[in-house]
Structure formats: structure tokens, C-alpha cells
Amino acid sequence: MRPEPVFEAPWHAQLFALTVHLNEAGHFAWPDWAERFGATLKRHGLERELNGGDDYFLAWLETLETLLTDTGAAEATALRDMRAAWEAAYLRTPHGAPVTLD
């Protein structure tokens, strides 16, 4: 039997690492993170059963985005613009070529 993957999708791993790294750099304390994350899960869980996979990391992502915009580390509009810039980069890059912003 193959072992379960630690992370089910690459972005789960990336998001996890980003959060741990920011915590260790002192941008927020873990208990504060846990409290915010718990609140997001609760809010999402009221609407439907969360499966602990993609749903779980979507709630994690929302929590981190909100936390960073609250602390001023990242602005909401800058995040939206950067997301759009990456999307455009993927759409204009031929398949197989490295995707870059510029």
C-alpha cells in the first residue's frame, strides 16, 4: 500500500510552508492563528460538511489572506492584481515553457 501523500495538492504544501515561515519570522503568534483559523472553519462548516482536504486548505487560505491584509503585510487590491497577473502569465505562456510574470 502506498503511503498517503503528506499534502494532497502542491498549493496545500506551499500555503502551509508560507504560514509556518511567517509565524516563525514573528508576524503572528500561533495561538492567534489557531483562533482565527478555527473561526473560519466554523463559519464554513455551518454551510456544509468540510472534508479536511481542499475545503480545509481553502479555509486556511482565506484566514491567511485576511490576517495579512489586517496586519497590513499585504493589501487586498495588490493580492487581486497579482493573482490576475499570474493568471495572465499562464494564459500567454506556451505549454511546457516556464511561467514567469514578465
Binding site: A9, Q14, H21, L50, D54, A74, L79, Y90, P94
Partner: protein, 226 residues
Amino acid sequence: MGGKGGFSLWTIDGGAAHDRPMPHDHSDHDHPHSLLPSDPALRVKALETILTQKGLVDPAALDEIIDTYENKIGPKNGAHVVARAWSDPDFKAALLVDADPVLAEMGYYGRQGEHMVVVENTDAVHNMVVCTLCSCYPWPLLGIPPGWYKSDAYRSRAVREPRKVLAEFGVTLPEGQAVRVWDSTAEVRYLVLPQRPEGTDGLDEAALMALVTRDSMIGCGLAARP
């Protein structure tokens, strides 16, 4: 339990450039451009890019963190601790009184393992661990939690109907054995010390380690029999 959601890692753009949805196994020439990552994957990339540009994040440090959790840390660490506790009564006594210094000495400390409590299963009591708030878990000893540990179903039912949940894991306890459920927090994390299976006299630490499953250290399973 087992709540693993089926989803695709990447979605393929079926919008502006194509007027029909495309299956995942299309050959390359059908893709005029790179596969478009899912919305959350793009949002994570955006976060990472902005924070890196601001100097708040070092991409190499991110790779290091991922590598650690994918390849270096996992339930083997916890199994090592359990096997040693089964073999060495003095070690076990110290572990149950104050786990932190004992684990630190074994090198199992760090992120999300700052304050560990080890709870021992006996004929009288079976311990089980949950995090009702989110998914607090002893990373240095068990790695990253499995999907079911993070699911709403487990988080709400472990406290309400632990015996039913255990039954779904294939564990039926004798009626006289109480179940105690420990709710992890960001400050305190628990490791269950499962009962040593019968027929393991004379096995060395390495042989015992192989019997200690991840689930037995969360309290959702029992140690395997040789």
C-alpha cells in the same frame, strides 16, 4: 471516516480560449498555453510573490519547510518514543510526568510540539485525541495530520460519540474500559501511548516500532500485533 475529498490538483481553462471543457489527458498540442492552476493555487502564488517582493518571505525557506514535512518528519518519530517507553520503565515514567525535556533530548521538538503531554492507555482507560477548534497536532512526533483528523465529522463526533467513531476505525473496546478524549489546543498537544500488544516479550525497540501505527498514537487505533 476516511474523509478524503476527490478533487483535481489543477483545472484546465475551458473558458475564453476554448469553447468546450477539455479532459485532463489531452495531448500537448491541444494546449496553446500552460495549464491554468486552480483559483486557490493562483491566490497562494500571489501571496508568495507579494511577500517575497517585500522581503518578508524567503522562497528557499519555504522549500526547506516543505521538504522537512514531506520527507523527514512523520509518525516514525512518535513510534520511536512509544517503543522506547514500552522497553524502558524509567523512560516511560519520565515521559508521563513531563514529556517536553524527554522529547527534546531525543531531538523531537520544534514547530507545534512546544508543549507535549503523553497520555497512557491502560486496561481501565483508552485515550483519544482531537482538536475541536481546528487541527492542532504534534507535528514533531506525527508529521502533518491526515485528512480525516481535520474533517468536521471527526472534530465534532470524537467528543460526542467516541465509541462510535472508534468502531468506524475498527476498534471495539471492552465495556469496562473508559474512553477519555483530549482536546488539543495551540498550547498543549497530546500523544497517546498505546498499550503494548501481547506476544511482544523479547522484541527489541526496532521490532516494537514497527507495531506502532499513527492512528494508535492519536487513539483511533491500537498497536498492531506481531
